[in-house]
Symmetry: C2
Subunit: 347 residues, 2 copies
């Protein structure tokens, strides 16, 4: 496969730890040659990368659920790619895979790093490349297990989800509808709100940008029986407002806090947390990796819903590796609509 | 029983909703005659009243787990008393009872309010009057069910409890020791810390008044394997500091937030709450009344421990109904040592 020698791998590396929003000068842009894999190794061509709020956390120093990306390292990113060279019996040239590809055009994986890369073959007959980064990928798994395992929704209960039009939110809301719940989303702007109601079938969606009391008023109107499960992707004021409307024995899933990730001051703690006491309610964190042994079950279930039309997915696809720094920021200013995907190459 | 007619019931009523610490002029002091009970009614003579942090919450307007005390009403308080007149077949003159006696010398209960008063006969052979307000009473039930049902401690785990020398804290710590845990208390001042270690057998106790980093440093030193269960009675900075030391799948029981009850500003939310996410941990509220059907089981278990010496109890007894306004404040400035009891009359 002498063609490999002609390829150049463009990469984006973390150059400095950001303060507040990450800017373009916090990244470095490098090139590396691609070489033939050794025994047991593979070369993957990146097709699409998943851009996720969690990336902002990986850029910070300090202990978390996984180590931070080191300065000078290729930025961590999950993605879908295609095997273009293989000396590994588990992968054949032409196989589609998902895994930790990083923000680069190619991933060269030696034998001893196959496991760490998390490469797994994916079946494009049950979902598109971009759906494999959305409902069938990490965000979908996060929404599914966070809702089902931590939230434990019962038919007839009211489920509220913030970031409703985002990757995790759309999975949570649609799964909760399928399980027989009343579902109320919270999203930014009328277009997203209309989409989750009209296209995804949520019972209502609150536009948090509609005014200072929009969330409070919206919860009163759309959750007349209170909130039994709240899936929180945003933290901040919205979490505090939902805390005032929870029911007895409510479950709050702490999945993220995108409103706080670019803070240059301390995180805003939920000042209404004593509502947990009054309501004998629970607030519990979720990290998707814990559910890896059961991903295949969630994929099978939700692929079925995609097929029979009970679930839909929406991806916001931006083309070009080089746009990564600016595209990432779309997550934090709320300008993406649907799961944010960076398309690096076409199949 | 013509003697009843000679009795005067001194009462303390809520005169105004306090801002910050409740002061003496927020109470009114009234007198009422005692009359013979009608069919089904009883008259209880108050012996001792339980003074609890929760009382501060009952004085505020607004929705909570029980309605607030109304302006002009006798202040709500649990207590132990003696039946001095009865036309109810379930209670005989001379019976000792616990229940919602209120801050007054006598409780006159008509037939239709027997149930609401929560009066139950107690057995002074298994615990003293004051123990029935402590480990065998509401604080003990709170500590027992909060720890066992919500905290679910496993032998070998590390349990941290704040307000360690208080009524709830002493129950939590001793129960956790009995269940085979490493137990670290947090309390104010060397005397309380020494007592919970030397008398109650805690493994260590951190004096939060010892300096600005006392809790942080103490947790590092005394919880080398991290914190699996944190029973929080205080909220504020201590909760935030413990959140930085929790283990994966940790359980935080939100029982109270005494540091915040007299705030004239907003409650301080736990700014480190995202530690719940990183650690897949849980924060859950508890209200003791939910466990009423199982109180008798906890009482039987802990009365056994009191008898065989595995549990001890300490009450801080202040004498005289009229001292109530000032005695209550002892809870909030940390000057009480042990379960705070107001002794209204001797047996």
């Amino acid at each position: 496969m002498s063609t490999l020698a002609t390829l150049v791998n463009h990469q984006i590396r973390l150059a400095a730890r950001p303060v507040g929003l990450p800017t373009r000068d916090g990244w470095s842009f490098t090139e590396e040659p691609i070489t033939e894999p050794q025994d047991g190794g593979v070369v993957v061509k990146t097709l699409s990368l998943s851009l996720d709020p969690a990336m902002r956390g990986w850029m910070n120093e300090g202990k978390s659920y996984i180590p931070p990306v080191g300065i000078g390292e290729v930025m961590r990113a999950g993605g879908v790619g295609k095997i273009i060279a293989s000396k590994n019996k588990d992968f054949a040239v032409g196989d589609f895979v998902s895994g930790g590809l990083g923000v680069q055009e190619y991933l060269q994986v030696p034998a001893d790093q196959i496991k760490r890369s998390g490469l797994v073959k994916i079946d494009l007959s049950i979902g598109t490349v971009n759906q494999w980064l959305n409902v069938l990928g990490m965000p979908g798994m996060t929404g599914y297990f966070g809702l089902m395992d931590v939230g434990q929704p019962k038919a007839g209960e009211t489920v509220v989800v913030s970031g409703a039009a985002g990757a995790v939110g759309q999975t949570v809301g649609q799964m909760a509808k399928i399980k027989g719940c009343r579902v109320v989303g919270i999203a930014g702007g009328p277009a997203k709100c209309e989409w989750v109601v009209k296209e995804l079938g949520f019972d209502a969606c609150i536009d948090y940008k509609a005014g200072p009391s929009a969330v409070k008023d919206g919860l009163k109107e759309h959750c007349p029986k209170g909130v039994d499960v709240y899936f929180d992707n945003v933290g901040g004021e919205i979490l505090d407002t939902v805390l005032t409307r929870i029911n007895r024995s409510a479950r709050i899933i702490i999945c993220g806090a995108i409103s706080q990730y670019n803070n240059t001051t301390a995180v805003q703690g939920p000042k209404n947390y004593l509502s947990l006491l009054v309501n004998r309610a629970r607030m519990e964190g979720i990290v998707v990796f814990d559910y890896a042994p059961r991903y295949h079950l969630a994929v099978a279930e939700m692929a079925g819903y995609l097929k029979d039309g009970r679930m839909k997915s929406k991806e916001d696809v931006v083309v070009g590796l080089n746009t990564f720094p600016e595209t990432l920021i779309n997550l934090f200013n709320g300008s993406n609509f649907g799961k944010l995907v960076l398309q690096v190459a076409k199949e």
